[in-house]
């Protein structure tokens, strides 16, 4: 555990490979697993870094310092409940009883059936539990002294002949399980391990919002408490991967505050609990050993009954529901003990963030009639046990309830549910607010915690548990966290990107942006394998190459012995300076760009124009010799006639937001080149095809196979297409031809293809692979393209982007170009034509699991 309480200066931007938000059961386990696996890990914890072993458990000072909202987070509903959770380094593991349960056997099948959770079976999970139980010293009392309140409770259960268990706890030593510091909370276990493995911990840091675009989280906004609420520190953290482990309330709150709402915070589950105090003839020594150890299993999983904290203060709180009538009973507090009856809640709740309020989180939970009935029955059974144990009186935490004095009175309770508004309820377990699984109707994440629709955002806490397990969820949360951390390590490759980019790498000869993408990946592959066929790059396999990469999940596809990965983003100039560090005399291939934004057109300029400006300025500053910049056909729009072809002298006529952003980009490139500090070449490839294609291109194949590709008009409109290896050849020639400085080139296949020919060729290629294709395609009037263009234009005028309208709007146009200038000046000789290129594309799809 770090003794320091590091603070971050206002406005700082920190970077890390993995950011773990939250340090409780899920967060600490995640951080330790990843740090020990060689990842660079930063842990942010909202609460203080207080030594919890030095603060009496359940005391007022613990409640004020370590509990969220002083232990008074309300779950609103027909009857509100107080929800209690930790808010400190170590989270709720610092304030709970340290009980340990494995996933109940029935839950595996239930969760597989309801949430479609994959790879979640006893055979997979039991080794995680075994490992955790060793590492957390999970144990029974083993002959240690049984607290008096627990001993009489056990005697009552045994007299009734009901089943019960001693609940194992994460605690060291026998007979001293209740000593301060014995509990193996996260402060004593996984957090020190994470720090020893190189992780950094920042306490008092609340993540207020995630910044994300196109399914990638680029960073998080953080507020660090300074003790004076008027002057908090605000900073940002950029990370390759972000794990949210803030608990079942705060994790969905952060996601929803960030605009991520799909199945987030809609299915909160909990274990509602009602308490009762019992008066005995003998001293209960309740204050000496407040932690209970037995649980009644006779009615599990519907109802669980056990002991509760019973200091004088907690006993007074139970009596407080009828304080006027029952306060005199406090004179006998030493002969009293407290117990609870809980139920596996059948209701559902929600978590909603209030805009503009950092701690504005509204939690609702609708108790079901079944919950009310089960709590009533549970209370009745609790009373039966206590009278069997020799209790003289039982004080239920029910407004208006009398003191119960006989077992018959207790049994009478069970005949009719106690009204919800009379019950004083509380809960210490919450889960299921971001359920994991493959069921798209209910799950917020995949089976391993990756948020649906995101490449580098994960949830790894009790939010993932698909429904109420009926037991303390700490063990389940930690086992799932370790399993998901293992999966993350496997999924994101063998090597830490951070570590790969540090320490003794030679100065790069080649820089590439956009490498995780379609063309960038193929370019890196071509260079790393030395297969370009361009004489100047014949030895490219031995050239040091540095790639700018954002998300971690595509790293494996661009790894190579000479490939160095530099983490960053086009919108982050500091990371681009790092990309270009030591790259004097190198060649930059700027391939990264944005074609289809997720929603807003403003992203076109942010990435295509501003991002290009950022990277070129960084390259110029570092002394990079030449930048080859990939543009598009869009700055020129569509051909004025189907038999027309663009050449490099054709005038600008940008098509929609994308075309405008690329036109601005080209203007800036010319401006920079004219200044004479950086050589530049602009390459304009039209429609790509070839290996590493994204799902949208595979969908193109599928549509043709199914006869659903929309052919607008007579299909004679022409499209230039560019097989990726042809583009790579053009890029490398542009980089190595001295006279290309300051020029622009169209790079495409030898000739444009009519749409009918493209469709027919793809059909024949697919059939050669055994696909049964419908011969006819969907034929639509050419006017459909015009209508789609109008809609696309209207949407883009208000800043919105819709990919289908945009693509359909281009389908009736010819977009054809001539490659004569590239052939003449660069020696460009495209090696692939349509049929060979499409054949290679389908082969790649089949080899890489893409379903056509």
């Amino acid at each position: 555990m770090s003794d320091a309480a590091p603070h971050v200066s206002d406005g700082t931007r920190l970077t890390t490979e993995v950011l773990v938000v939250g340090s409780g059961a899920g967060g600490a386990a995640t951080a330790a697993a990843l740090a020990e696996g060689g990842r660079e890990v930063l842990i942010l914890e909202e609460g203080p870094n207080a030594d919890t072993a030095a603060i009496p458990q359940n005391s007022p000072e613990a409640i004020a310092l370590l509990y969220r909202n002083g232990g008074m987070t309300p779950m609103l509903g027909r009857q509100s409940m107080a929800f209690v959770e930790g808010r400190c380094v170590g989270g709720s593991t610092e304030i709970n009883s340290g009980f340990w349960h494995r996933v109940p056997p029935d839950a595996y099948e239930r969760w597989a059936a309801s949430a479609l959770v994959a790879d979640f079976t006893p055979a997979i999970m039991e080794p995680y539990f075994e490992r955790l139980e060793r590492e957390l010293s999970v144990s029974l009392l083993n002959g240690g002294a049984v607290p008096k309140s627990s001993a009489v409770f056990r005697a009552g259960i045994e007299r009734l002949g009901w089943r019960y268990d001693e609940v194992p706890r994460c605690a060291r030593g026998t007979g001293s399980q209740f000593a301060a510091g014995a509990k193996q909370s996260m402060q004593r276990t996984f957090i020190p391990r994470a720090l020893a493995a190189g992780a950094t911990l920042l306490a008092d840091c609340k993540v207020t919002r995630l910044r994300h675009t196109n399914g990638t989280v680029g960073g998080v906004e953080v507020v660090q408490s300074t003790g004076d609420p008027a002057y908090p520190r605000r900073f940002e953290v950029a990370a390759d991967a972000v794990f949210l482990a803030c608990g079942a309330i705060q994790t969905p709150a952060v996601l929803r505050r960030s605009g991520i709402t799909q199945n987030v915070g809609d299915t909160l589950c909990t274990h509602p609990m009602i308490k009762a105090a019992a008066l005995f003839d003998e001293d209960m020594e309740a204050h000496e050993a407040a932690l209970p150890i037995y649980q009644v299993k006779e009615f599990w999983p519907t109802i669980t009954i056990g002991g509760s904290v019973c200091s004088p203060g907690f006993l007074a709180m139970i009596l407080g529901d009828n304080w006027k009538a029952q306060q005199q009973a406090m004179r006998d507090w030493a002969r009293m003990a407290a117990y609870y009856a809980g139920t596996r809640g059948m209701g559902r709740g929600s978590v909603r963030a209030i805009r503009g309020l950092a701690d504005g989180v509204v939690v609702r939970y609708r108790l079901s009639q079944a919950d009310a009935r089960n709590l009533t029955i549970g209370l009745a059974h609790l009373g039966e046990i206590l009278f069997a144990a020799g209790a003289k009186a039982v004080y239920p935490s029910v407004v208006g309830a009398p003191v119960l004095r006989s077992v018959e009175q207790c049994r009478g309770l069970a005949k009719q549910p106690i009204p919800l508004d009379a019950m004083s309820l509380s809960s210490v377990h919450a889960f299921s607010s971001c359920p994991m699984g493959e069921n798209p109707d209910v799950c917020a994440t995949d089976s391993f915690g990756k948020v649906h629709g995101f490449r580098n955002l994960y949830v790894n806490d009790a939010s993932l548990i698909p429904d109420a397990p009926g037991v303390n969820p700490q063990g389940t949360t930690m086992a799932i966290a370790l399993r998901n951390a293992d999966h993350f390590m496997q999924e994101t490759g063998r090597m830490s990107m951070r570590r790969a980019s540090s320490g003794g790498a030679p100065a790069p000869a080649i820089l590439v942006t956009g490498a995780p993408g379609w063309l960038g990946t193929r370019l890196v592959e071509t260079l790393a394998q030395g297969t370009s066929g361009v004489p100047a790059f014949a030895a490219s396999a031995s050239l040091p190459l540095r790639c700018l990469v954002r998300p971690v999940d595509d790293v494996a596809t661009i790894a190579g012995d000479t490939v160095e990965l530099s983490r960053g983003d086009l919108t982050d100039p500091a990371s681009l300076r790092e990309l270009c560090r030591g790259a004097e005399g190198a060649t930059l291939f700027h391939v990264a760009g944005l074609i289809h934004p997720a929603r807003f057109t403003r992203d076109f300029d942010r990435i295509n124009f501003e991002g290009t400006r950022n990277v070129l300025l960084a390259a110029q500053e570092a002394g990079v010799k030449r930048a080859v910049v990939v543009s598009s056909n869009s700055p020129l729009g569509g051909n004025p006639a189907h038999d027309h072809v663009f050449d490099e002298a054709s005038p600008y006529n940008p098509y929609m937001g994308y075309g405008r952003s690329k036109a601005r980009m080209e203007a800036f490139v010319h401006e920079l080149q004219a200044a004479g500090k950086l050589e530049t070449v602009i390459i304009r490839p039209p429609w790509f095809y070839g290996p590493h294609q994204p799902p949208r291109q595979t969908l193109f194949f599928t549509m043709i196979k199914d006869g659903k590709f929309p052919v607008l008009g007579d299909g004679t409109q022409r499209r230039s297409m560019a097989y990726v290896d042809n583009i790579c050849q053009g890029l490398l020639l542009a980089a190595s031809t001295p006279a290309a400085n300051g020029e622009t080139y169209w790079i495409a296949d030898e000739r444009p293809y009519p749409i009918n020919e493209i469709v027919q060729t793809v059909t024949e290629v697919l059939e050669s692979f055994g696909y049964a294709c419908k011969g006819k395609q969907m034929r639509l009037p050419a006017a459909v393209g015009g209508i789609a263009r109008q809609i696309d234009g209207a949407l883009q005028a208000v800043g919105l982007y819709h990919q289908k309208f945009h693509v359909l709007g281009e389908m009736d146009q010819s977009i054809a170009c001539s490659v004569e200038k590239a052939k003449r000046e660069l020696g460009y000789a495209p090696r692939f034509a349509l049929r060979a290129g499409m054949t290679a594309s389908v082969e790649w799809c089949l080899a890489n699991g893409q379903r056509i």
Binding site: A5, P48, N49, A50, A54, I55, S59, P60, E61, I63, A64, L65, N69, G70, P74, D228, P229, A230, L279, S311, P312, G313, F314, L315, A316, M317, L319, G320, W323, K324, A325, Q326, Q327, Q328, A329, R331, D332, A334, R335, I354, L357, G360, V362, K392, A393, G400, A401, P402, V403, R405, E408, Q409, R411, G412, L413, K415, Q416, P417, I418, S424
Partner: protein
């Protein structure tokens, strides 16, 4: 490692939510009204415990989520001021009997928000007072009366006839 507060009395109350003087006085008066005088606890100890309890309740109110804290403070002001309409005085200016009557009115109110208002202060106050370190010695030598239970509780107990219908023994309504 940040220093942890070693004694209950050193609890820090967040500045942002620290109660104003009038609100703190109202909370103090409610706390005083809730916690019965006990012969086993000397007046000076009780006064010190009540002061700390009031601070604790204040810190708990300050810890409420933003969207609940503001309405709660409004309710606290209403609780303080509304007795003027009935007795011509604010709550803190009332005598003990009238304070108890006003508190009972809110405790048993038909409006759930009023009951919940009292419940929050009551729960925090009882916890903090009875777990106060200064009271430990007094409380750990409690007066244990012979035949505890019904005998002591009898005066304030609720007999079966007064039970809410949902808690009456089953015999009389076995077929309901």
């Amino acid at each position: 490692m940040a220093a942890a507060p070693r004694s209950f009395a050193s609890l820090a109350v967040p500045t942002a939510g620290r109660l104003g003087r009038r609100a703190a006085a109202t909370v103090g008066a409610v706390v005083d009204c809730l916690v019965p005088a006990d012969a086993a606890v000397d007046p000076a100890t009780r006064a010190a415990a009540l002061a700390d309890t009031t601070r604790f309740v204040g810190s708990q109110i300050a810890s409420l989520p933003d969207f609940l804290r503001a309405p709660y403070l409004l309710a606290l002001a209403a609780f303080e001021l509304l007795p003027v309409l009935r007795w011509g005085r604010t709550f803190t200016a009332l005598d003990g009997a009238r304070r108890a009557a006003w508190l009972a009115l809110w405790t048993d109110a038909k409006i759930g928000a009023m009951r919940n208002f009292v419940k929050l202060i009551r729960g925090c106050a009882l916890l903090a007072y009875y777990d106060h370190p200064a009271l430990a010695a007094s409380l750990r030598t409690p007066t244990v009366s012979a035949g505890a239970g019904r005998a002591e509780a009898g005066a304030t107990d609720t007999g079966d006839d007064d039970m809410p219908s949902f808690l009456r023994p089953a015999a009389g309504r076995a077929h309901e």
